[in-house]
């Protein structure tokens, strides 16, 4: 029994501390069918703004683990670098800042209603979109 407990303890210690996972979602009728990382990165940096003549509207969650995780793993920048990038982008090209929303419900409501919307939500909240035909999870 003691040996088993020791094994379990060691197993927990060696388990990696994953950041909260997320999925990328979009409007079903929108132009995006897959979430190719390079493309999602460019959309969130304002480098790709149109696909198939549809204006893309990237949506961010406000501060939090999921946002930081998404920015680091997909966009390749920290939250600080992302803000700096957009201050420059607006000043250089007169672009509009991406939308920042507080809750997953708000994010999903926007994705549901805007054809070019693209967002990320925590894996733990995926059940909220299962019944909804207007929001699809994009495969990475």
């Amino acid at each position: 029994m003691r040996l088993l407990l020791t094994f379990i303890f060691l197993f927990i210690l060696t388990f990696p501390a994953f950041a909260e996972d997320f999925v990328i979602v979009a409007n079903r009728e929108g132009p995006l069918k897959t979430a190719e990382v390079g493309m999602v990165k460019d959309i969130y940096l304002g480098e790709i703004r149109f696909v198939n003549n549809v204006k893309l509207k990237p949506i961010n969650l406000t501060e939090g683990e999921v946002k930081n995780d998404f920015l680091l793993t997909v966009v390749g920048v920290s939250a600080k670098e992302y803000k700096l990038h957009w201050i420059k982008k607006v000043f250089q090209e007169g672009l509009t800042l991406p939308r920042f929303l507080r809750s997953v419900d708000e994010v999903l409501a926007h994705v549901r209603s805007e054809k070019g919307a693209l967002a990320y939500i925590p894996m733990s909240e995926v059940s909220k979109i299962k019944k909804d035909g207007q929001v699809v999870i994009l495969q990475r």
Binding site: N53, G94, L95
Partner: protein, 409 residues
């Protein structure tokens, strides 16, 4: 025994009461949960309605102007020891850049940037950028107005936002026309720009056509200085300035090539004008400027380097700088080397580099650091600048310590 009987009677009465009240209780619970479900559905429905309202569906919202929606100001306060630009050690208010930008629906946008410049006895206001654009798609954006010209990385990146860069000033040869820069920084006309994917890289382009700059004589305390002047209202010759830049972005390494051709007219204020709208022109002169730029960021190291070549029938010259910065959190140490060289063949005939008061052979070594009080709003900069300039064939040295508090609100 008596006690047991009393307890049994109490339990019997309580049990009878419970058996009669539980159905009513469970009925009321059922009502409540149904009401809760109905309320939740109503909330969801209302939230859906609020968010499903497409942009522009509210017709009154269409009438709201965008000017001022995104209004910002960049400014800076400086102190520097004895320098070529400002003389004795002094405090200086830097240019105050006010800007606003806006977008309408998906394709229209605009930007407006003006600068307030403080002098000792007056304050002047100058228009820096004003353009409107229409985006057909990512590969084609058409803009019209006054732009910062697409010559190199710096001029299209930082504009008048000193907080956005680490050093206290732009490279000296890239300074704005009013402050003795030797490259036409502004152009009034049309700009086509866009980007496209080329394999694993991205290609960006800018193509501009507009009024070429003039050279204006400025008199201060009996001395005559010459400086470039953008032609906002009318060009003094038929030949338009053309400029372009191609930039290949491969995994964050940006490599650009650029060039411009224009005819520059020399305005001499001392001669009588033919009319109020046509100042006397001494000569018109064809000028080429072209070069390459490099930008990359590897972990914490940022490198920017640009090379400019000046060519005309009389003269050629070159200007370049390389800047290194180490992005260590709030503190960013930096180094920059910048140089302008004029290879004059027939100096007396030259109407560009040797005529412009900022066009003498000059080099600077700059080292310092920027400290972010708040990376979005406020930064302190300290730098040491070694400045060597040829004046009448003799080298003249300045060693300048400079401090700046730059901010953006």
């Amino acid at each position: 025994m008596k006690k047991i009987r009393i307890v049994l009677i109490i339990l019997l009465v309580f049990g009878f009461y419970l058996s009669s009240s539980i159905p009513a209780f469970s009925e009321s619970l059922g009502d409540l949960s149904e009401k809760l479900i109905a309320l939740e559905e109503r909330i969801k429905e209302l939230e859906g309605k609020e968010h499903s309202m497409p942009v522009g569906a509210d017709h009154m919202a269409e009438l709201k102007n965008q000017f001022g929606d995104n209004l910002g100001a960049f400014a800076d306060i400086n102190f520097r020891t004895d320098s070529r630009e400002y003389g004795e050690s002094t405090f200086t208010i830097g240019a105050i850049g006010l800007y606003t930008s806006g977008s309408y629906k998906d394709r229209l946008n605009f930007i407006f940037e003006m600068v307030i410049v403080a002098h000792n006895s007056k304050t002047s206001v100058s228009l820096e950028r004003v353009w409107t654009g229409y985006t057909f798609n990512d590969a084609l954006i058409v803009r019209a107005g006054r732009f910062h010209i697409a010559l190199g990385h710096w001029n299209k990146t930082y504009h008048h936002g000193k907080l956005l860069y680490y050093t206290i000033e732009r490279p000296f040869f890239l300074k704005f026309e009013e402050t003795k820069g030797v490259i036409p920084v502004h152009i009034v006309g049309l700009e086509l720009t866009g980007s496209a994917k080329v394999g694993a890289a991205k290609l960006k382009y800018w193509l501009e056509v507009g009024n070429g700059p003039g050279i204006k004589a400025d008199r201060h305390s009996g001395s005559v200085f010459h400086k470039l002047t953008p032609t906002n209202m009318f060009d003094t010759n038929d030949s338009k300035q053309v400029a372009g830049r191609l930039c290949l972005d491969f995994k964050g390494v940006k490599l650009g090539i650029f060039g411009t051709k224009f005819y520059v007219d020399f305005f001499d204020d001392t001669l009588p004008a033919a009319s109020p709208f046509s100042p006397p022109i001494v000569v018109d002169h064809q000028q080429f400027i072209y070069g390459a730029d490099l930008y990359f960021k590897e972990k914490k190291l940022e490198v920017i380097s640009e090379y400019f070549r000046f060519d005309n029938k009389d003269e050629d010259g070159e200007a370049y700088y390389t800047q290194l910065a180490y992005l260590a959190g709030k503190l960013t140490p930096f180094l920059r080397y910048e140089r302008l060289r004029s290879h004059t063949v027939t100096q007396d005939k030259d109407m560009y580099l040797t005529l412009l008061s900022g066009g003498a052979n000059r080099l600077q070594y700059i080292g310092g650091f920027k400290y972010d009080l708040d990376y979005l709003r406020s930064g302190l900069k300290v730098q040491y600048r070694f400045d060597k300039m040829d004046i009448n064939g003799e080298p003249d040295y300045k060693k300048v310590l400079e401090l700046q508090w730059a901010f953006h609100f």
